[in-house]
């Protein structure tokens, strides 16, 4: 089941490459069909999903890979990963639909995104550190070609910066993985076994160093301050669907690593360094919001709000490490909020970046001051944009609220100082309202003149993302029911 979900897009990508005679339209529709099929498979998996025993995984698959170093092809899902693969499938389908109008090498683009989809799916279901790393690294390679091949502006340079920066992070991560492997007895890369063993318990120096390597690797990918500098140029110059995948899916690989690898495998070191993580989270939240506030380029602004939103997640997982009596409940709420935020941010930022792509497509600029009164000529665009912006700033009734509410309830109960980060919510509210005002209100002027409203493909790609955000906001129970047991297990593991 999981192997099929992971490798269906990849095999379709290879088929697309092997059939050069296939017309552009056929390639685009193949992409949509495969992405839809993959989503259907994920939905089927979700319907059949039953919460596994603590520490275990559902739909497990395991085969020998490099037995000499105890690394296997091991897949499985639980409440932390299932929502993320569902979100991944949704975002890639949205991108496939959005790209139906693409004219620049659509066959190659479809193949590349299908490759990226396989890689992303694989990462979230991997239960072996080397397998995880393989997918982690390949996601960087795929995104490099997306930015370099279909980006605009200074795309080659941004792509290079992205590659070098995140590759550095991935290698730091690998150093940490090898440290875990060497410390484990018997040596293994299996995530389930490592979480049971907690190999570096009792050696605070080695544990701290290995955690530092893993944290740096994940922090670059997430990204948190001060490792975020690759993100704004990469986003600004990436194509719309590239940005949607980068922000919606790839950034989650970092935060997912926190809850999947760092917390359960290095609980002692995690508790020791929880305050550092919380501080990094708070700084990311406030700094990201402040810098976003200063932007005039809409896409850069959304990119910086990603730093802010990822900061909430870092904050929550940091707070989960502040172990004290009877805060287990609160910390589990924080972790649930963090995972919900991963899903919610994926949907909302995905939608916002696709909408930014519409700006670029029609008027070739992201500069907010070039627009004005856009609500007149493009009412649908304005409505979608407003929903996205309100979801992103955490308005009740939308998914961002559910996530951030839980993060703050849990974190503040566990570590009251995290209340400082509430400023971030205020700032994002201000900046989104201001951008709404700048772009949409007032007299129609500048680039807004003659702006055509959303086309069908755009409506059908952005719309479902926003509808899902609304659904989660109004009716979060099914999602939380999946996440909560896993969050409780994660908190229990870190408390050992």
């Amino acid at each position: 089941m999981l192997s099929l979900i992971v490798f269906l897009p990849l095999s379709a990508a290879l088929a697309l490459l092997a059939l050069p005679r296939l017309g552009d339209a056929a390639a685009r529709w193949t992409w949509v069909a495969v992405a839809a099929a993959d989503l259907a498979l994920v939905v089927a998996a979700w319907l059949r999903y039953e919460t596994p025993a603590a520490g275990g995984l559902a739909f497990e698959e395991q085969a020998e890979w490099i037995p000499g170093v105890n690394s296997s092809y091991h897949l499985g899902v639980d409440g932390l990963s299932l929502p993320l693969i569902a979100m991944t499938a949704v975002i890639f389908l949205a991108c496939a639909i959005f790209a139906l109008r693409e004219t620049d090498r659509p066959r190659l683009q479809a193949a590349l995104f299908l490759f990226l989809q396989s890689v992303s799916m694989g990462l979230f279901v991997a239960a072996d550190l080397i397998l995880f790393f393989v997918f982690f690294d390949l996601s960087i390679v795929g995104m490099y070609f997306v930015i370099a091949g279909w980006g605009h502006g200074n795309a080659a340079r941004s792509a290079m910066k992205f590659f070098l920066y995140t590759f550095l992070g991935s290698l730091a991560l690998l150093v940490g993985f090898i440290g875990l492997y060497i410390a484990a007895d018997p040596h293994t890369f299996d995530m389930v076994e490592l979480a049971e063993q907690t190999p570096l318990a009792g050696s605070s120096l080695a544990g701290g160093l290995v955690l530092a390597a893993i944290l740096i690797g994940l922090a670059v990918k997430t990204p948190t301050v001060p490792f975020h500098t690759w993100l704004p140029p990469a986003h600004t110059d990436a194509p719309a669907i590239g940005s949607a995948v980068l922000a919606g899916v790839l950034l989650k690989m970092g935060t997912y690593g926190f809850v999947r690898i760092a917390m359960p495998m290095l609980p002692e070191a995690w508790r020791d360094w929880a305050w550092v993580i919380i501080v990094v989270g708070i700084v990311s939240v406030v700094y990201g919001a402040l810098v976003a506030l200063a932007q005039t380029n809409f896409k850069r602004m959304v990119a910086y709000t990603s730093v802010n939103h990822m900061g909430y997640i870092v904050l929550a997982v940091g707070a989960a490490g502040v172990v004290a009596d009877d805060t287990a409940q609160a910390r589990s709420v924080a972790v649930t909020g963090a995972v919900t935020q991963m899903v919610s941010h994926g949907l909302i930022t995905g939608a916002l970046f696709l909408l930014a792509g519409v700006l670029q497509d029609r008027a070739a600029t992201y500069d907010m001051d070039s627009y004005g009164g856009l609500a007149g000529p493009a009412p649908r665009f304005a409505a979608f944009f407003a929903v996205g912006a309100f979801a992103s700033l955490g308005l009740p009734g939308l998914s961002g609220f559910i996530a951030e509410f839980q993060i703050f309830t849990g974190s503040i109960a566990a570590a009251p100082v995290t209340a400082i980060a509430l400023v971030g919510i205020l700032l994002t509210a201000a900046l989104f309202l201001r951008s709404l005002q700048r772009i949409f209100t007032g007299e129609t002027r500048g680039r807004s003149v003659g702006f055509t409203d959303l086309r069908a493909a755009e409506v059908w790609s952005v719309g479902p993302l926003l509808v899902l955000s609304l659904l989660i906001g109004v009716f979060p129970r099914p999602l939380l029911a999946v996440i909560e047991p896993a969050a409780e297990v994660a908190v229990e593991l870190v408390g050992r």
Binding site: L17, E64, W65, I66, P67, G68, V69, S71, I130, F133, V134, D137, L138, V141, F145, A148, G149, A156, M160, F163, L164, F167, L168, L171, A172, L174, V175, I178, G179, Y181, I182
Partner: protein, 468 residues
Amino acid sequence: MAMRPLLLLPEIVLFLGGLTVLVSGSFLPRTRQWVTRVIAAAALVAAAILAAVALPGPAQPAMEGTFTVDTATGVARIVAALGTLIVLALASDEIAGSPRESETYALLLFATTGTLVLAGADDLLVVTVGFLLASMPLYGLIGIARTPRGAEAAMKTYLLGALFGILLLVGVTLLYGVSATTSYAELTDRLAEAPQGVVAAGVVAVLGGLMFKAGGVPGHYWVPDAAEGAGGAVAAFLTTVPKIGAVVAAYRLIAMLPDTLAWPLLVAVLAVASMTLGNLAAYWQTDPRRLLGWSTVSQVGYLLVPVAVAGRSDLALPSLLLYLAGYTVTNLSAFAVTTAFPDRRDLDSYRGMGRARPWLGASLVVALLGLVGTPPTVVFAGKLTTTMAAWDGGLAWLAVLVFVNTVISLFYYLRWIAPVYGRVEPPARTLPGAFISAGWSATTAVVTAGLSLALGIAAGALWSVFSA
């Protein structure tokens, strides 16, 4: 102890094959020189098969204990023979019908034989023989293209080779002087009691000679010049195959030494120097072959990492062999792309190649990212296991430096990939035949890149063979 010459059958086959090529080449007319290529290929295939048949057996001494046939020798034989076979495929485009065709093939076979002798040597004098047998043909091979650059590179290689050959002999003499033996079996104990200063000087000198052969610091000066000045196939050969013998010989040497001095540290310093210098020097190269030449210097650094922990970690030998096999196939793939377009000697001249020749472009990406160590290529598996070996052997800092260097190296490999997939200026796009590739090289590039991926996925199977 007995001679048991049959154990050396692969080496004998290669040497006799070289002689046959040499002799028959002088009788064949220019238009039928391809026959010698077939003979050479047959000898290489035969040697690889013979080595593969012998591989599962137990380790056996040959030639009075001066040569060992074990897993390391067996793998080195197979990898070197198949590597040279791939070089023959590249040579088909370049030197078919050229005045020195059969001579080139003969020299390639002799140099490969020397590499195999080095890999199996269990005696300092046999190491010397292997060194000379692997080096002499190289001087001729580099100069055979008869270009001014080729002549300069041949001269430089020859002078350095002579110097390091003498150094090697000095080292052997010193070690013999304090131990009265050259056999590894007896050296371990005798060196433990010998004066440490002399032992250190001797080992450093022998290791220096091997570094020349491997193309690592401090014997690396000839590599970029030779890679740039020699013909494409020769450049591919000399940056790949001789390393196999030299690195395995260095492994045996270090594994044999007693624990009296900090050998791991010495080798680790050489490893760090090679990888760092090679990477930094490759940064602003504009000729793809020269860039690859420096890149191979840095790869020697990675190859020395498991050598540093020889005998201290169970992972050391299998990871070394895995890296060697992976490096050979991946490096040859990158060189095959340069020989597919022999006239494009500037990174920027590859602009638009990815669009014009998608398969070749993909091969180049696989090969270059493979050299970086990106999964799922086989070099990734090799790099992962070699760093695990270093960490396991107590050199965690070396493992970290390997990864730091990997990041440094990424930049110059991307400098080549970027134009391949970069935006094409309109005039270049209107030249439909702009990327006509040499047929054999193009096929070889694609096949070896595919092999690099396949071996990466099958790394588990390779590992179980190598650790037998």
